[in-house]
Symmetry: C2
Subunit: 366 residues, 2 copies
């Protein structure tokens, strides 16, 4: 059977290795595994949320309220926007998919940073769109402008991953605004803000507020997730915020019940527990210093991170080899070799986890 | 901002009304609402499953094992197939989406029954494919053949919803096989078996077994779900079974983590609790007789159903009016007016729920 030709260019996304795999393959006890590979929240699930999930565990047979009324209402209050400005997705991945499927096609291109969230490219290739990347791995807005002007007639979407995953850099709100102002109103500009709350916590100059963004730019879409600071990676809830005329178009691509009944409840409860997020932020930037100091000590380059992870580049050592060695000891980190970097992305864990990881890295590098 | 032109022809799927809406709009106590609108399991969530979900409610921050190893292994054993024959989706809706996005396009068409699962058409329109439907509302394989021969050069997918949702009819395995045998091997034939276990229970002649189906037809895809007999509508887990060369192509369209960590666990546990499914089947067909008798008594046409719902057509009364009146009393049924039928689809509930619904219908029709 022949398939659509776009599939020929598609590879699957390489997901982080799960704890189950290390348990299965290396016979390590689940409790001894340290997974700092997928930017999950090191404090786990907020107690408010886990209690709420357990309470409705007997409602698994019921489809969710597909209007997502309560969740949208809570998000609208949080961001000072209208429910009509919100679209809920199965993770922010899915709203990004809607953006690409709604706007890109075989005759158009998307523009992204050299190294950024892999799904932009995968979704673009699904619809046969071309992918234009900056030669700079991190976001270089001058190069974005240059490429935009050069490929003006074909670029339909620009992705700005702020801060960037998997590298961690961020650009100030003012610079982002100046850049978007130069873009044609018919080009979609997606500000992927999956880690934006980390960036805002570290430096308020980085903070892009969705209500302000969409008021200023009718072609801008702000995407965010419950997977990181809110600790709901496993529940798969994200959202897009944009002008209502944009949301109503994207919504045509949403299948009903695209998040689970338990995920809906979890997201609503997570929004009510901001103290969990505060604790997460505080730990994150305090602990990140340990990795920075480690890198400095060993003369390794690292990217100044505005996220809940840090990317450390290696010199003579091979990042894949290091990850493989650590895996056997039950430590899961994210090798960035498939992104073309001899680097490792480490999620900032709890104090004792970070200490253990750094000890093991020292052992390898000494 | 302009969007891809395919979006112009798209409307959203109209989901069944949730209990929350009735509570919100009519001030009815949640406990008093009878929802027989979305073919959810009337026995709720299996205790084995709800206990299992509650136990891992503190794992909501962890992404699932994206290989879905344990679930695929259990499904492979159930169906006597290989894990490479399985693709997991966010409900069977999503694997159907993959089928359409992988095979249909602006230059092709899909072929379906006159009244069938609405998502086939929605997904087809997303990719700009044409939708060809039989004039017969239920599946008429002669008309399918006729239309297939007439539009041979453009039909890329044929959908057979066995048994059919929202009408409930089914066609024997032998007839389905005879039909598929006449179809070109490059045309994808999707056997949507969301309700197949109900049909098999009622009459083994209807039973299509996926291992046998894909052995006989390299172009056939069997899709199924945990939403109905397994009672996991709210957890959103479905799957496709096909030859591994087909699965590997469809898999290119799957984004990572397309089901939740809790959904993965729920589905694995649901497969271990077949007694829950047996109880469901027994109740379903025993209780369905009540609706059949009611329809006969009032001279209403109904479709002989092989599913967990029954579709009753009305004569002079307006189905929308009836549903609206019942809604005010806290009874949610599914009006089929949007499908072009003056009919109501009723999920078979528990004994006392069915008695109450029939009493109210009697009251309206008397």
């Amino acid at each position: 059977m022949k398939f659509n030709k776009n599939l020929q260019n598609l590879k699957n996304y390489e997901a982080g290795k799960p704890i189950e795999l290390v348990v299965r393959e290396y016979g390590i006890n689940e409790k001894d595994v340290i997974k700092l590979a997928s930017n999950e929240n090191p404090f786990g699930t907020s107690e408010v949320v886990s209690k709420g999930i357990a309470e409705i565990s007997n409602k698994a047979h019921l489809y969710p309220d597909d209007s997502y009324f309560e969740l949208k209402d809570a998000l609208a209050k949080k961001y000072n926007i209208d429910v009509k400005n919100i679209l809920i997705g199965q993770g922010s991945d899915q709203v990004i998919e809607y953006c690409v499927h709604a706007k890109a096609n075989e005759n158009s291109a998307i523009l992204t940073a050299g190294v950024t969230f892999a799904m932009y490219e995968i979704y673009a290739k699904q619809v046969g769109a071309k992918v234009i990347k900056t030669t700079s791995q991190t976001h270089d807005l001058n190069e974005f402008k240059e490429l935009y002007n050069k490929h003006k007639d074909e670029i339909s979407i620009i992705f700005l991953c702020m801060p960037n995953n998997p590298l961690g850099e961020c650009i100030s709100k003012d610079e982002i605004y100046d850049f978007i102002a130069t873009i044609d109103k018919d080009v979609m500009v997606v500000v992927d803000a999956a880690y934006m709350d980390f960036a805002s916590y570290k430096d308020t100059k980085m903070q892009i507020q969705p209500d302000d963004l969409i008021k200023n730019f009718q072609n801008a879409i702000f995407t965010a997730t419950f997977s990181k600071s809110y600790g709901l990676g496993g529940m798969r809830v994200g959202y897009a915020i944009a002008n209502s005329s944009v949301i109503s178009e994207l919504a045509k691509l949403r299948a009903p019940f695209n998040i689970t009944t338990l995920s809906l409840k979890a997201a609503i409860l997570a929004l009510s527990d901001e103290s969990f997020v505060s604790k997460t932020m505080k730990n994150n930037f305090k602990e990140m210093i340990k990795y920075e100091n480690f890198a400095k000590e060993f003369g390794l380059e690292y990217i100044n991170s505005y996220t809940n992870f840090i990317t450390i580049k290696f010199n003579k050592e091979n990042s894949s080899q290091i990850c493989q060695n650590l895996l056997k000891k039950g430590i899961i980190l994210r090798d960035l070799k498939s992104y073309g970097l001899n680097a490792i992305r480490i999620t900032i864990g709890k104090s004792e986890q970070n200490d253990k990881v750094i000890d093991e890295l020292r052992e390898i590098l000494k």
